[in-house]
Amino acid sequence: MTDETYKNNPNEQEQAQQPESDSGNQPLDAAGRSLSEALRISFIILKVIMIVLVVVFLASGFRTVASDEQALVLRFGKIRGVGEGRLLNPGLHWVFPYPIDEIVKIPVAKKVNLAINSFWYYQSQQEILQQEGPKKRTRINPKLNPIRDGYCITRSEKQDRVLAGFTGSDYNIVHCKWQLTYQIDDPERFFRNVYTENVKPGESYTDIIVKSVTPLLEKLIEGAVVTAMVNYTIDEAISSQARIPKHVEKLLQEKLDKIESGIMVVSVQLTDITWPRQVDKAFWASIRASQESQKQITEARTYAENILNEAAGPVAAELLAALRDETVSEQKKELLWLQLAGAAQEKIAQARAYRTKVVEDAKANAEYLKKILPEYRKRPQLVVQKIYQDAIEYILNNVDEKMIIQPTKGTKGTEIRVLLNRDPTIKKSEVRSKK
């Protein structure tokens, strides 16, 4: 509009100038000359202003595209250029000023996060505040309001046996929170197809884009979540398996591509998931039970390890496996036997000791006999007596109590009573002897 106001001025100027040029041949008076002078100067000023305006007009075509943006140029409303050339990369660019060209900058490198909390149960302001502070039990409504409370439906576990009248349509309820990170990857498609509000003064186009796109993305991801979740059981969902967000991501990207939104999903994350508060007790009991049974199994394993260790040492399991496996060579088995420890090892060690002792004893006896045999053959009586008496001496030296009794030559036998109590370890005993 400013252009027009300036353009209007020369019009008036023109009309004023006309009489002056007509009277050019006549002698000029002082007033006329000064008027012509003034007109001339104002005309020059006007020209300068016009030139400046043209320069400013052309210079207004210089636009910068920031490093996280790409830009499209609309010439008479239509996207200018072909193929790759349609997009302006970051840097300084010149386009024809309005109304011929229009530059549209799209923040392509910007990743935007969007939190989806619509699958979470309703919490009053008070409850949310309490969550931060100490836990206080609030009364929980035994039902879920379908308008107020958000949740997803998950399928039930597959039953092995088909019950009569069982349709397989059992389901569970689960609450979850998600986070979507997205980015515009095709500025042209995005600009052409996705509704964005008009930029009002004081607002940045980026903010407007985020604000305008949020409702669309919210609905699309919610749809994807609902669609994906029915395929999983509550246990699969709660154990936060990565494949569920991947599934949601895939569904969402398919939708975004189908509607040619030019938006790319960077990531979908399952930020929080829980069973309904109404069944909290049962779920905790289940968790405790599985922890308990895990503990039992661990204890049993420890017991097994200990008992085998006690029985045969660390090599126990290997040895047993080798003994059962006929393909294992004898050599290998012997090697394992050598590494044996524990009770089994003790048994074998005892047997070895026995073996040594038995053999040594037999050998010693045999050698002794061999040694005394020549002497014995010469003087049997004396040798026997010698051995016998040495033995008696040895025995009586070691014996605690010795009693020698004079045999009576009476008709009746003699009765002797002996009270042995000197050694406290020996119980009182009675020795009876009859002769």
């Binding site: 100038q17 016009m50 409303g77 600009f191 029915v230 070691n398």
Partner: protein, 297 residues
């Protein structure tokens, strides 16, 4: 010189003003409708620069042709087999034909109210054709949730087609819920299922623990038995080796026997024993009387 500049300027000015009056732009994001004396005569869906007659004769109506998202109200409907469910459907739509749009609805608001009733019709129809088991099923192979949404989309497209100048890009179910009372039953069932699971877990844990222990015990027994057998073999070997020496004793078995008895006696009476002997025994005979010794010649 002056005159030429001024003339050019005036021509330019008039041209620009004239162009403003007789031409208009349609942006990439728009479509337009030209009316001649109020009657729609031309629709433009391609962006660009177009000419028209000046204002009183022809007028331009522009429509934003980009996608908008619209969400129907949360509504309860019933599946085949009369299971009530609550669904909430969203629709992504755009103005595709400005003429039809202008004639049928005119404004976005009006269009959405028309869509609203169409969506709920389609929703009820399609969902009524499917049983609940096709929404959620314990057998994932039987779930037809995506197909149901596709069916809704094609039904809605069919219903809208040519009527309002609207194109439906996609739709989806963004909430799938059950009524308040049903949710209570679901919790009952979830609790029961969880309890069953808890019991199963405990039973499995016990069984597994018992199995591990029993397995260890039997392994121990087996190992000890194997070791015992081996020990027995070693002892047997010892006995066999010892037996070789017995041959040497055969030279005088009586003497050998006597020596063995003596050894045995020594061993037996080693500790804590009390011996009562008759004075007739050697060498205690000496206590009774002097031996009658005569030198041998």
């Amino acid at each position: 010189m002056k005159n030429i500049t001024v003339t050019i300027f005036i021509i330019l000015l008039v041209a620009v003003l004239g162009l403003y009056l007789i031409s208009f732009q349609v942006r990439e994001t728009e479509s337009a409708l030209v009316t001649t004396f109020g009657k729609p005569t031309r629709q433009i869906t391609e962006p660009g620069w177009y000419f028209k007659w000046p204002a009183p004769i022809q007028q331009i109506y522009k429509f934003d042709s980009r996608m908008r998202v619209f969400e129907a109200d949360v509504g309860e409907t019933t599946t085949k087999g009369a299971v009530p469910i609550i669904v909430n459907t969203y629709v992504v739509w755009r103005i595709a034909e400005p003429l039809a749009f202008f004639n049928a609805v005119g404004t976005v608001k009006e269009a959405q109210s028309k869509l609203l009733s169409q969506i709920s019709d389609t929703q009820n129809n399609v969902i009524g054709r499917h049983s609940f088991g096709e929404f959620v099923n314990s057998d994932p192979a039987k779930i037809r949730f995506e197909q149901i949404q596709d069916e809704m989309l094609s039904d809605l497209k069919q219903a809208i087609k040519g009527n309002y100048g609207i194109e439906i890009k996609t739709l989806g179910i963004r909430q799938l819920k059950v009524s308040e009372d049903v949710s209570k039953d679901v919790f009952e069932r979830m609790r029961a299922e969880r309890n069953r699971k808890t019991e199963a877990t405990i039973a499995q844990g016990n069984a597994e623990a018992t199995r591990i222990k029993a397995d260890a015990d039997s392994k121990k027994t087996e190992l000890l038995a194997v070791a015992e057998a081996r020990a027995k073999a070693i002892r047997g070997q010892g006995d066999a080796e010892a037996a070789q020496f017995y041959k040497l004793l055969e030279e005088d078995p009586d003497l050998a026997m006597f020596l063995r008895d003596v050894e045995a006696l020594k061993k037996i009476l080693q500790e804590r024993s009390t011996v009562v002997l008759s004075a007739d025994t050697e060498p205690f005979k000496l206590l009774k009387e002097m031996p009658a010794l005569t030198p041998k010649k």
